[in-house]
Every structure is written in C-alpha cells, then in structure tokens.
C-alpha cells in the first residue's frame, strides 16, 4: 500500500473518532434550552465527519497510484538516501528549543538553537556562527521586546 493510502487510512481513523465524539458523546452535557435549537455545537462536526470518512474511503479504494515525483521532490520510497539524520537532528533541536525557551531565556535559547543548527548543517567555525547568532538573537529580542512591547524573557530564570 502506498503512503497516500496509509495516510488516507489514518485520516479515516481520525474522522471515525471525531465522528464518534460528535454523534454520541458530545451532546450529553447539552443544556435543555439549547436542545430546542435547530443547530447544536455538534451539527457541523457531524456533517464534517461523514464527509471526511466518505472522502477518505474513496481515496483508500479508488486512488490511482501516485506518479513518480520529479527530480526536485523528495521521494519517500528513497527516504534513506537523503540527509534524514540532519533532518531528524533539526527536529529534535526544535523540540529542545521549545522546552528550553522559558527556563533558558530567549537570548540563550535562541543563540544555542542557531549555533547548534548551523553546526548540524555543516558550519564548523563556531566563532563565526556564535557571532551571527548573538547579533541575530540580540537584535530580534530588542525589536520584539523593546520596540514592539511583546514580552520575551531574555535571561535565564535564575537571573530574572
């Protein structure tokens, strides 16, 4: 089974769970007075779940095989021939950034993200990437926090 059918199957599962919630469990707590309404919070989701399930089934059954992707596109069948290690490392780095942003502060976390990101992609001259990261993190923090007034904690939690 090709990837697009697997994904259609996954979406079908999602629609079924979504539909189950909409059709059976959601309206249990609906107040009396709202039950007299012609439209309930679950009305639109009910319709969507049915349409989504039909559409996913259609793809699952009738979808023609995909064309081979162009030279420029990423072909999932040859996934391992690409730089998937770098891609995974960057995804991990993004998750790490999300976790560290609050405790480390904006400037520290951002500098770390940019330096390690550049290192993953092959920049080995850390002094240059550190300089670039410091300028970028500092100026963006200044723009967002001081000029625009959106609060971003710049320093680690134990300093500020």
């Amino acid at each position: 089974m090709a990837l697009d059918r697997w994904l259609a199957l996954a979406i079908l599962g999602l629609c079924l769970v979504y539909g189950y919630t909409a059709w059976f469990t959601m309206d249990a707590n609906l107040p009396r007075f709202m039950q007299r309404n012609p439209v309930w919070p679950s009305t639109f989701p009910k319709a969507l779940s049915v349409m989504g399930a039909i559409c996913a089934m259609y793809i699952l059954v009738f979808q023609k095989p995909m064309d081979a992707p162009g030279e420029d596109d990423v072909d999932y069948r040859k996934l391992l021939s690409y730089n998937w290690v770098q891609a995974l490392a960057l995804i991990a780095l993004m998750l790490l950034y999300a976790v560290c942003l609050r405790p480390l502060g904006f400037i520290g976390a951002t500098m770390g993200f940019l330096i390690i990101g550049a290192w993953i992609l092959g920049e080995r001259r850390v002094h240059i990437s550190a300089l670039v990261a410091a300028i970028a993190a500092g100026s963006i923090w200044y723009l967002v926090s001081e000029v625009l007034g959106i609060f971003l904690r710049p320093l680690p939690f134990f300093l500020m």
């Binding site: 697009d4 012609p38 064309d67 420029d72």
Partner: protein, 505 residues
Amino acid sequence: MLDGILLGLTTALSIQNLFLVTMGCIIGTLIGMLPGLGPMSIIAIMIPIAIGIGDPSGAMILLAGVYYGAIFGGSTSSILINAPGVASTVATSFDGYPMARRGQAGKALTIAAISSFIGGSVGAILLMIFAPALSSVALLFHSAEYFALMVLGLAAIAAFAGQGNVAKAVLMTILGLIMATVGEGALFNAARFTMGFPSLQSGFGFITLAMAMFALPEAMFLVMHPARSGKGGKAGEIGKLRITRQDARDMAPVVGRQSIQGFFIGVLPGAGATIASFLGYAVERNLASPKEREQFGKGSVKGLAAPEAANNAACSGSFVPLLTLGIPGSGTTAILLGALISLNVTPGPRLMTDSPEIFWAVIISMYIGNVVLLILNLPLIPYIAKLLAVPRPYLIPFILFFTLMGSYIGQNNPTELLILVLLGLGATALRMANYPLAPLLIGFILGRMMEDNFSRAMQLYRGPSFIWERPMTAALLVLAAILLVLPSWRARRERKRSLDSSMGD
C-alpha cells in the same frame, strides 16, 4: 465628489501627513516581513502611537500606510522563504516561491510590487466611486449567502489545488474544517474536541498551522534534499529585476481583472483579502490557456500577479463597509474601527457628511500610500532578495527559528511550539504523499466563519431550508458543486477525445 477629492488632497498632502504615510509604509513593510506578525497585530501595536497624534485624519493615514506596508511585507516572506505570515498572502506563495527557487526572486518581488500597486490604486479609485452605492449591496448578503460563498470558495480552491486529484484536495479541505472546530466557537461557548489539553482551548493558532503546513515541510525538504535548492546554487541568485515585455503583457489583463474582482469581494464583510486572493488565483487559473495552466504552481507570472492584485484591491474594498456603515469586514478593519472610535470619530453613513475631510483624506492617502510603497520597495528589492544568498547552514536554522518565533509571539506559550513541530511532521508526510496542503489551511481559516454563518442561517430559518428558499444561496452552492465535478468531467472528456482521435487514425 470633486470637492471631496480636493479636500482630501489638501489634507493628505500636508507635510505631516506625507511623513506619516511614509513612516507607516516603512514600518509596516519591515515588521510584516517577520512571519507571525500580520497586519492585524502590527496595526494593534501602532494604535497607541496613532492615537498620540491626536488628529483623526493623521492617525488613519498612518494606520492605512501600515496596513499596506504589512501586506507587501507579508508577500515578501511568502515569496522568499515560503512562510506566509498572513492568510491573504498564502496564495502568493503558490507561484512566488517556485519562481524564487528558479533564481528569479528579484523578478517575483517586482511583479508582486507592481501588481499590488495597481491593485491598491484601482481599489482606491473604485472606493471613491462606489463607496456610497456599495454599502447597500453589502447589506443584501445574509449569513446564508456568506455560508454559500465560503463553500464556493473552498470548492474552487479544492478544484484547482487538486490538479487532477480532486479527492485528495477535498479530503484536505475537510481536514482543515475539522481542525477549525477544535476549541471554543463564537456561537457556542463550550470548548469542543480539546482532548483535555488546555492549550487547545482557543483552538489551533492560524500562524502555527500556516508555518507547519508551508515553512516547516519546505525547510525539511531543503535539508533532506540539498539539490532541491536549485542547481548550481541558482536559488542564491536574485536574478534580473526587470520584467520582460512578455511578462508585462501576461500580467496586464490578470491584474486588471483581479483588481476589480478583488475590490468587490473585499467589500463583502467577512470575505476580505484572503478569499479575494484565493478566488483570484482560481479564476485566473481557469481562464488561462491549457498550456499556461500547466505553469500555475510552478512559477507562473499570472499566478503570482493575480493574488497580489486581488488582495490589495480587497484591502481597499474592506474600507467600504467600515467607512460607510461602520461595520468592520475583517479583523484588521475592526481594529481600525476601534482606533477611530477612540479618536472620537464614529464611522457610519454620516461620516461623509459630518467629517468629509477624514473620509476623503483616508481615500487619498491610500493612493499616496501605494505610490510611496512602490517608490520605497522597488529600489529595496535587491537587498531584500539577498536574504536568499545567505549560506545554507545559516539560512535553514534562521527559517526554522522564524517559524518557531512566529507561532510563539502570537500565543506566548511554548506548548504552541510542540504543536507546531508535530503538525509540521504530519504535513511533511502528507506532502510526500502528494496531498495538497493549501486547501487544508484555507479550510481552517474559513472553517470558523463558515460554521458561524451556517449556524446563524440555521437559527434564522429554523432548519436547513435556507438552502432552497434563498435563490442566491442555492445558486452559489450549485456553482460550487459544478466546480468540483468539472475537473474530472473535463479529464474524462479529454481522455475520450484522445481515444476517439486515435481510433480515427
């Protein structure tokens, strides 16, 4: 009307107001380039400054400049790094980004600047002529028609984004609509489908979803497949800025049509620039010859010019209900309404008679704003486009960082970043399997408005009878169905024809 124009000119051409419109355009462009800060948030940020000016005309002129600048800045990031920060520039990235990847970033930005200029200027002229008359047309549209209009818009998008694979596009649209139902709706104050996560209480963030659908998969693809970023480092080149005579000839009818169509869509409250840009793209794709249609999505001049002209014209259009009825048609104009009220000006039918200088100054300053934007941006384009010449080990972490920032600034919540990465992984898989992602995002954007209008119509008619009782609604829905069926019917007819001709030989 001539009196009004002269009055507007004298107000708008004062040194102070010229300065304000120029500043507004510069600030708007610079901040609009950061994905995540759309015109709405920039205008909200600028309000205290605008109110500080004290003079309502000056304040409106500043804010209108910011508005235009932000929209142009938004197209820049869509074209260069495929990260549309604003819903109305999503369609710009369809053709703008492939063009930039082919090494024609400069040309793409020039086309965008010129189309926006013409779209905005035509919009301002139409606003002058039609503002009073159009306010009554906008009132004719009820929730039922809005619902139908949105169904039509989604169908048009699914039909064009599918490219022979309408089922996948429809499935993505439905998935987007499903995602839009997560969180609290406007009509029912109960959280739905949050699966117990408090961060989903207010639903998925638009920026988060936009970044996850476009920028993240693109960055991942660039990492995995470096050859993709252009052969021989072509993507680093800015290319010529000049557009050829042929390009200009291709653009002219598209820009003309879309400026007018975009304006009229912008007039409808709630429709706004987003729908205008998508419908503009879809319409132009259908009008193009089969050979040109192939180019759409791969860097077509027409495909880039259409949404740009349409969204700027629609921005002018969205001022019609604001200035004539006092009804804001979009989030941005709602913020402008708030600014006006705090300046002690009440927009509405009496604005034109009570304080004509404000009404006309705003219209004239829109025109001036467009000129300023063009003069400012054309010389800046080579520098803006240099962004692409940044070496890979720096460019990609920066794109990822701006994606993360964009969704963080809006919500100030690190959980949003985790959602972003997870959605981005899903989007990467969907993209590998040839699922078009634009319909998902558009479904998500329109989903909430669509449900609200649907529910309102249901309540007014106490059931779904509005579908057949209101002729305009029925007509729009039928049109939507035709749009969905048309591509497969056309494909079948072509297959049959090629079969026939081969039999005839």
